[in-house]
Amino acid sequence: MPSLLEDLQNNPLAQATLVLSALPLLALLAWAIWQPKLFLLALKNLRRNSLRTALTCLATLVLVLMATLILTVVVTLDRFTTEKARDFKLVVTERWQLPSQMPLTHAHYLDPSSPSFMLDRSEIGPNDFMTWSFYGGTLDPGKMTRENIVFFFVMNPKHIIPMMDDMQDLDPALIAKLEKNRQGCLLGRERLEAINKRVGERIKVTSMNYKGIDLELEIVGELPRGRYNTTGIMNESYFNQELERYARTKGKHPLDSKRLNLVWLRVRDRATFEKVAQQIETASVFADRPVKCETASSGIATWLEPFQSLLWGMKWVLVPAILASMALVVANAIAISVRERRAEMAVMKVLGYRPRQILCLVLGESLLVGGGSGFLAAFLAWFTINAVGGLPFPMLWFQYFMIPTQALFWGLAMGFVTAFLGSALPAWTARSVKVSEVFAKVA
């Protein structure tokens, strides 16, 4: 998950919501400093009908919470399907088959540490390479259930921190353990709980995809919470060793020459990507099992193709509908409040308050409700959902979605914007109250 600073530098939604939350916040602060008594009056007006204020806050809170959860999924997937300007990853897969199953020799030509490396070392460094093989199995072959299934990324432990997304903060001691103990593995929190195992315990995995390659693993650590909650990582040297053992005793495993699923390379820019991709796709060494190259983002986008309509609907129908509902909730509450207080507005005008001051008072009350409950909702979502390991929303290999820190700005911005839109008309009505009409009852 990118840091808040990275989001603010690169993510247009984070930038827009920062502005939309900062401007009203600064305006409210300036108001509180400049006219503290009127600010206090706005606060007191909110307490006038505590039930109505509480219900409006609650409705806003629930709606912002829903919108935050939806935006979290959409923004996270967007992040993976949007190409970066720099340092983006290139994925090499089998050209004509899905799932991709390539021979291990393909990796040798693409591994900068291999003597057979075919690319320019000035463009692909030792930390810009990673391979994945997928290994899935069960702890109870007699009674396979969802709970006792484990899935592993089989890879070189050295590549985890430099190449895997969201692994930059992984404790290097875990990598050292994984390298030292070839049978070691790392498992996500939820998977550990599901199989009822703890770090330090051993598991025996009966493979589902590599029939006959059953592995005995020691859990040496836990993966960071979030997207890796339900998966695991194991050392490729143990996996390869077991395939070789199988070959010695029973002949080559049917998947022996198909064990390489993905190769990842990091390139510094688009031009390098084009050049490297062309080199790889036209290389004669891959002629027997042709490969294709795509950016990680376009690769993920391809995988997400079946979900595009759903994601589009979430982003462009559901979120706007939620925001419109919020604006209507605020509009209703503020309109009732203004109607009840017409005489007070008129009295304030009689005392010398200008229409714009009355407008500001009503808008201020609305912004306090909207911004306050919006921020609270986003904070609750960010704090509680991240504390329990993310939002469970299984979609392909995305199992959990962590609420990004920028969601705090989403909440504030959603609260402020919908409060402003919802209260604009009632505030204008309040500002336009005609004193002579309000007091025309006794003439």
């Binding site: 009056l41 007006n45 307490r47 009295v347 009689v350 005392l351 010398g352 004193v435 006794v442």
Partner: protein, 239 residues
Amino acid sequence: MSAPAIVRVRDVHKYFTRGSERIDVLQDLNLEVMEGEFLGLMGPSGSGKTTLLNLIAGLDQPSEGEVWIGDRLVSRMSEGELAQWRTRNIGFIFQFYHLLPVLTAYENVELPLLLLPLTAAERKRQVLTALDLVGLSARLSHRPGQLSGGQQQRVGIARAVVTDPTLIVADEPTGDLDARSAEEILALLDELQRSLKKTILLVTHDPRAAGHAHRVLHLEKGQLVETARAADETRIKLG
């Protein structure tokens, strides 16, 4: 030498339109109120009393004619100018008090002062003086709901005088009070007029209330039809 006129209403005409129908509320009305005068304005419902009061207080504009308060032509001022002018020049007392229920007596009285360039200490001094004047120094932190009708009206009066306005306009200030409270409020208005030399314009249905005025004007169908000295007015009405 008589005091100068502080309120001058010249050839004022005010009408409203309802659909195609035109309703004349005030017609060719002329009026002068002297500085320091306590003027009563009486008349039946719909006679235009409150409309006249609104025009003088700058809450409404005449359809024709001019309204002068001191040397300011109120009837030609913009809404923003009027708002600023009202803060310093007009104290308004309402029949139903119209205090803000979420504010204490102190805060209600302080409300108009927030619009003036005063320090917190100056505001506090003026609020305390005004509340002392109406005898509510012991009720500073009470909210309107915790005060009797008479006490609420006293707070309303304190709010009206706290900016030391040129003119105090009172629209049926005793209309919602029992006889005893009403008499106390009227005595308070008398006191304000006498001790602070305030000009007071009082709209009322009540002949007893009008009896406190120096001069009483009658409005009927939008025209001033009769003028009498207040004492005579009271005597006539009460028999």
